[in-house]
Symmetry: C2
Subunit: 487 residues, 2 copies
């Protein structure tokens, strides 16, 4: 039979894996950023059934390099400008490895007190680093918790909001009234999903207009929608304001939106998934405007731009009670003396799943390795490179740059003289395909004012000025070449 | 400033961490199983704010050993018999480390094709290993997907069930009818939570009686509840049958329950979180009875007893369409040519979060390292040790053993001659406290027929016969000592 991997074998194979990763990261530029495989290529190269007998660990590493690597889109490649960065860093990888080695499950305080208490400490640290309000701290009425993603943070915030809006009745009675939530056309799609999941349906989602220039939510239209719904007998449960939208990093006017929420007692969730961590830099602290005064909940993702491997979203609440009331169910097998005293945090009540990994270790390792200085330097570098790129784009008559672009994302539109809007958009998509097929960059697109634009998201760990320069050269070159083939 | 950890630094610190883990696992018996710290002890030992300057990685390792370790409850300790096992294994830890090193995010096929395709392959492998039906395979109408936990798998199954029961209208309109779900008093609490989350509320949860001896769901009572609800105009959306309940590993009669579901077109979810993976052994294949014929969805947790570090729940569906319809939202920034062809799987539509880690790597590494043989040997060892313990308990007049106990869990009740039920239960809880305070074992309790019993869950990677023997000796000894102090 094949037995367990003993500690000495673990030591040996562990070194092999560490070396594999070090070599992979050192040589990452040798791979095309975006995988060039066709659907089914990887699947067909793997055996259709599990092996009957155990295999040496070297076989896993060999197949990883031979079969899987061509199917990897390299998120840590310096030419990865797609979506938003999803930073991996040495300390985060190793912090997570420690979590794997300990193999503890922190659903309750008692099931590993350090797993809970370190999490409380590091989310408090992070709140301090970002200049978030004191009342988000767990020793006040609020508190922070690590979630797997901003989607889950939004869902959890909505559950708390519904609990409060229903006077606590929704957990017992379910959705018996018409609850509504308010987003903009630029809000992340996870909000519509959360409305579906919680039984409000798309019918419960109101889409607030945005300023056509900045793409920020229009508080005047929000007020009109709230007035109409309240007149119609609906119960507004939550407004989601976004600081740094996914499409273009637009920033909703949190103070104005928050004032409307406060007047009417509506839960304000601030989704700062991408941008929130940038507030580690004092000069970007304006991103927090209105949060201390108005936010009932706030989330940001260290797993995007703050060097902490996915998954690590932090959700803070001004008052944790509605969430705990919404999610607490206490079966006999989870009862224990520590929980009974009420003196401990049981994070299982703060999230959808019951079980949880020791994710605080990786965030702790990141914050200690980099220090506040190192975190700021990383954000500043991404912002500076993006600003430099934007200046090159706006100086080139062949392109238009979308304003504003205060962070690490630059949205740009190639100009196609003589082409109508539809044909121009198709040409832009063709340009994107050519860029991504080249293997040296990976970008995505979005629409602004119904026109296709390219998104260039800067902030990878390995991305240096020369990579941004090369990407810009390549965009210009492909644009010129493609233009020459057009009528 | 503090910069990134370069590949050579990563190599060095990676080896330190690998050695730390190897030493930790080799010496794990030197720690008390259950942490003996008091609430706040760990938190107070950590600095109140993040460091301004970066620190060497050695500082993290040093504080891990000095400050955090006393606050760890050691789930991989051979004396851990609490809850269910949450196996960590060498290949799983290293597979997860590779996932961290690659740092890819597999929300869409295109964002790393290998991340999606390896997942499809390994969940198909696992379905084959467990003898699950062909129609669960992704190349048929069904398909499997890795979720973070059985709680999330139940939630996702319920969303699919509600989609089907509402004729697809719930995503648009929300909960506008009285949908009901059916569980037993022994069903995992995550089902009640899922009902709350999806807007049904506790009012939508029907609790079916159980056989007082086996604690399995009573299909006759289920039929009566369904009849009453249908007469009352409610819409039964889902029945959850459990194979191996959390409290006592009771097995609901899936064929009889499934027949009722089929007659009425109700979604049957089978929650086999703990027990399902045991079907890797042909002699335990009876656990699957009725699954092929009746289950619309089925989930089990390799992260419990199948050697794959948390988090790794696999959810399979007989028909994936209702789930995808329930959860798909396609914003512009996620559109891509591969998805547009319809020829690829985008797992983001199969789960609540948008982003996802490359969790298939750890399951792949486990299955290849152990092979089917090794996985079977691990399950068989746990079952054999549990059966041996049960035989010792039932031969001892000082204890009663709960029957049946077909897997790795033994529930036992100490007898306290002369004590009324309440006082006896208090004595049992006191016994449990003494055992857990000893540092050599960690157990939990549950209630059967309103009487407190101790749960001894066997199946840890490091747990050998001698550890079970020692635990039993200790239970007997503490019971005798405590008995002597009672009136």
């Amino acid at each position: 039979m094949s037995g367990h991997m003993n500690p000495e074998e673990f030591r040996r194979h562990g070194r092999q894996v560490v070396d594999w990763i070090a070599d992979y990261l050192a040589g990452i530029e040798s791979h095309p950023v975006m995988s060039q495989v066709k659907p089914g290529d990887i699947r067909r190269a793997l055996p259709p059934a599990a092996p009957e007998r155990g295999e040496p660990f070297e076989a896993v590493l060999s197949d990883l390099g031979r079969i899987l690597l061509p199917g990897i889109t390299h998120w840590q490649h310096p030419g990865f400008f797609a979506y938003f960065p999803s930073n991996a860093s040495g300390p985060a990888i190793l912090g997570d490895l420690l979590s794997g080695g300990l193999g503890v499950q922190g659903m309750l305080w008692v099931t590993s007190p350090a797993c809970t208490e370190l999490e409380t400490v590091v989310v408090d640290w992070l709140a301090g680093l970002l200049g978030l309000p004191e009342h988000f701290r767990t020793d006040r009425a609020g508190g922070g918790v690590i979630q797997d993603s901003a989607s889950s943070a939004c869902l959890v915030a909505l559950l708390a909001a519904l609990h409060r809006a229903s006077g606590g009745r929704i957990a017992a009675d379910g959705v018996t009234r018409r609850y509504t939530i308010y987003v903009s056309s630029q809000t992340h799609s996870s909000l519509e999903r959360s409305a579906r999941i919680t039984g409000l349906g798309a019918a419960g989602v109101r889409v607030v207009d945005v300023d056509p220039r900045t793409l920020a939510m229009d508080p005047g239209h929000l007020r009109a929608l709230l007035d109409r719904d309240e007149t119609d007998g609906a119960v507004p449960a939550m407004v989601c304001a976004t600081v740094g939208t996914t499409s273009t990093t637009a920033v909703d006017p949190v103070p104005a939106v928050g004032e409307l929420c406060r007047e009417r007692g509506i839960w304000l969730h601030v989704d700062a998934a991408y941008a929130g961590v940038a507030a580690v830099c004092p000069e970007l602290r304006w991103l927090n405007e209105g949060v201390a005064e108005y936010a009932d909940s706030y989330s940001t993702n260290p797993h995007k731009w703050l060097l902490t491997n996915f998954d690590c979203t932090v959700l803070w609440m001004a008052d944790r009670a509605p969430l705990l009331d919404a999610l607490s169910v206490m079966p006999e097998f989870l009862r224990n003396p520590a929980t009974a005293t009420g003196s401990v945090v049981d994070y299982r009540d703060w999230q959808v799943p019951l079980g949880r990994r020791f994710r605080a270790l990786k965030l702790w390792a990141v914050i200690r390795w980099y220090g506040a200085e190192g975190l700021r330097a990383h954000i500043r570098k991404g912002v500076a490179l993006a600003q430099e790129l934007a200046s090159w784009v706006s100086a080139d008559p062949g392109f238009e740059v979308h304003e504003p672009h205060p962070l690490g994302l630059v949205c740009l539109r190639p100009v196609w003289p003589g082409l109508a809007a539809d044909a121009a958009d198709r040409a832009t998509m063709r340009l994107l395909e050519l860029l991504n097929a080249s293997g040296s960059v990976y970008m995505t697109h979005t629409r602004i004012g119904d026109r296709v634009v390219l998104r260039v998201a800067i902030g990878g760990v390995a991305t240096e000025r020369r990579h941004v320069e090369q990407a810009w050269e390549q965009i210009r070159w492909e644009h010129a070449a493609l233009s020459a083939t057009l009528p």
